[in-house]
Symmetry: C4
Subunit: 282 residues, 4 copies
């Protein structure tokens, strides 16, 4: 992505190194400014929803909002200009996120009427999805995600089984507690079962009959036990991934593998080792 | 089960390959239609218990219900017809589940009187146990179940110890909080202890005396600590099972074991490896 | 313990084999009768605390109670008679438990006056500690307990750190939420902090000020994170214990170790292995 | 730190061995007296915040408070006197903690006026941070902390992702549940999301609309699942650290590594092993 194309203007190449580069000083500065802008913008939108803050600092929030909108518009135009293939960027996930994070402000400007009150309110809230811009800063090829994908089949079987248990318990509780006590329908009963089996326990719906309380106790103990299963699956996967990373580096002198991640010299013959980064980031 | 018997008619053999087969296109199509029918049927029954939905769409739900009953009846008759041993199927777990998932609809037709109101209501709810038909789609010989069975003795000792702790704490809390504050009997106190030790915490019964709150705090910390034990047991078992699966494949050329589950070639001599599936599914 | 002493009468030896033996048919029968008696007795006492049950079946409960008291008295006398050293048994943990599980019934008989109402009530509840008799059925030298003791130092450091965090957060919340909103004293505030950090969350005391809610959110996230630590410690210990058990059995023919717990033959040379039980139970 | 400097007076050297020494009898006695004083002092301050206790035993608490203040003042002066570099100690973390744990008592003496009521109250509470003095007793270079630091990057990515999820869910719930039902602003909605995703579940704010309850159920299931991730990370790290410690000791006779932490002799050749402590505490 950092390779300069011969047919690009020097300006475009320079801009690209700023926007996409993460190693150059300008690239880092751009990233940090963007990161701060996104976080500040979200903070501002969130605070604006508090009524007393909106009454007192409404105008200040409006000005701040427009400053961020201009910054993000500028960023969007720059990205569009620098892209090798503009349509591809505009249609990509981040292209759409970048557009959606500036659009609501402009739309609110075009339709300022009070007759669209709810629509406007929802629209303004959409700006908070600027948070998705932060996803750019998450390294995508990390160990964690790999372990989760590796165990996705096991996790799916787990959630399928849990759904079965939830459904059966919901029906039983609906029959036992009758349509009273908040267990007014099976979906309501499912909501209670999920609140209980995940050990959240709001207490807005609680069983009143002795039999209901006994089944509730059973539900809790089931939840308490099966909480162990996804942990067990994931831990085993992460352990395996870690061992694999350990085994990745072979000493070029004596051939021994299994060095610690932070080792710099072979612990068998003392010759220098390749850095781990050069192996995992091809 | 998929082996054709010489004395069976070609129709029977064909039907059997559709119903029991999971690799043929017809078998897959049958499975998918069945899966969708079950899920849709359960959804319909659940929504029907919401009063406002029942009032507005009651007739639509009734028609839908009969469509699914006919589908499942058709499936039941087919399975009965195709079975090598019909009595064995009819008596098997899935045979009974299949029957129970169609019976309530017919019974409700026979006894439509309002004088059996509660019985009818319970009967109609029994239809939701159609969910058990989904169990067919769960591979039974999976790693997860094996790890759980392997550690069942340890888990039993764990739950035995937890029951002891719950009982002792229940009695102590019943004595401390008196018969007031919701702790009106030992079973009620046990309900509170389970709600607390599993970290569910409804808040419908809470200790009011300082001593009661101190014991409650102790109960929570115990629950918080022992939540680790089943996780630890299961994780260790799953890790061991994984290592075993790794060690299952031996290279037929150089004899080295311990290949990754997704490895296709021996990482020692480069010769091709047998697929893992051919080893674990005998 | 099962060795017969020459100076004992044949009756004593016979009784001892019944009471302490777990392999002989009589020993097993004795254990099962005792187990059922204890569980039934506790069930009876618990149900008796429910007012409506006590009113309706009070006399039945009283008769049942005396039957169990006679059974446990008989058991106590037998154990005392069979002991090599009677004083040692009477002073041992189980000796005291056995005595305490029969004493309350007799004391209630001696002091039946209504003027000792509370004392009698507490006394009657003491009977529930018969549950401690169940401890006899728990194998004491198990893997789980060993792993927990092995990691006790780490767990102590963990609870010491958690106590520090709880104390600091309690003081902060007491200062922030003022003496209102249920945070009326530091001990009350500590109760709230424990309810929150263990993710129990009764909701009987909740923060009302924005700053208090922010600190509460932080407390929850801390609790959510550190829940991982005891699990991690214990899992690692159990894994190590399991590996040790695997390495315990060496093939007497080729010397290879690391056999599965359920292996009967050496997977290296095919010769029969010693049973694992004969190694772990010296 | 225990090395005596030639230019120090014998008194200073003697005091230093008492204060900093942990192996000598005097050093141990000093540590124990200090530990008990800190815990007793904190207990006293906490109990003093209970109104009824303050009314009845206020004077007793005041006297106790001054005794502990004098003890800690004496300790502070001793430490200052013994330090190689007094300014360095006074500016260090523990130097400031030691000073702050005695200062509030003297300040309350100087400004006893009722017109600073709140300031005084906060000041008196600051004494509870004496709890930080306990940190001295925590070994700093322990395995647990190392595992946590080792995995800090992974844990950071985890919390970054969780923050993203919390923010998105907060906005969605704010839009769905409207400004009613306690979801009056995005920060309030974030508070609810954290209460739910950490499975605390106070129940002070609960969704009322069916859609809101469905999203709440999803939030709980997410929280229930991702609770596994930090556990998995930490467990894998601790396991690795343990294996490393096992591999630390090599038999000086035959060269075999991988001995149990409590092993005293090589399990390969039988020769005595170095103690583990001498290896990990350089």
């Amino acid at each position: 992505m950092n390779e300069a194309h011969l047919d690009d203007s020097p300006l475009k190449q320079r801009l690209r190194s700023i926007i996409f580069g993460t190693d150059t000083p300008e690239g880092k500065a751009f990233d940090i400014v963007l990161l701060i802008s996104i976080v500040a913008s979200i903070l501002l939108i969130s605070l604006d929803t508090i009524d007393s803050f909106h009454a007192d600092y409404g105008n200040f929030f409006l000005i701040g909002e427009w400053i961020f909108t201009i910054i993000f518009t500028f960023e969007y135009v720059l990205r569009l200009y620098c892209s090798q293939n503009r349509l591809l960027y505009a249609r990509s996930f981040f292209g759409i996120v970048d557009l959606l994070s500036i659009l609501p402000s402009y739309l609110a400007l075009i339709f300022p009427g009070a007759n669209f009150a709810l629509a406007i309110r929802v629209l303004r809230l959409f700006r908070v999805f600027r948070v998705l811009k932060l996803l750019r800063f998450l390294a995508d090829g990390n160990l964690l995600l790999k372990a989760m994908l590796q165990s996705s089949r096991k996790v799916f079987i787990f959630f399928f089984s849990v759904s079965l248990i939830i459904l059966v318990l919901s029906v039983v509780m609906y029959v036992v507690e009758g349509p009273n006590n908040g267990f007014s329908s099976i979906p309501k009963s499912m909501y209670w079962t999920i609140v209980t089996i995940t050990t959240v326990g709001y207490g807005d719906i609680t069983p009143q009959t002795p039999l209901g309380q006994a089944i509730a106790a059973l539900t809790m103990l089931i939840g308490y036990s099966i909480i162990a299963i996804p942990t067990g699956i994931l831990t085993a996967e992460i352990s395996q991934e870690m061992v694999k990373v350990r085994d990745l580096r072979k000493c070029s002198n004596c051939g021994k593998a299994g060095h610690d991640n932070d080792a710099q010299f072979c612990n068998h013959c003392g010759s220098e080792l390749e850095s781990l980064a050069s192996l995992t980031q091809p």
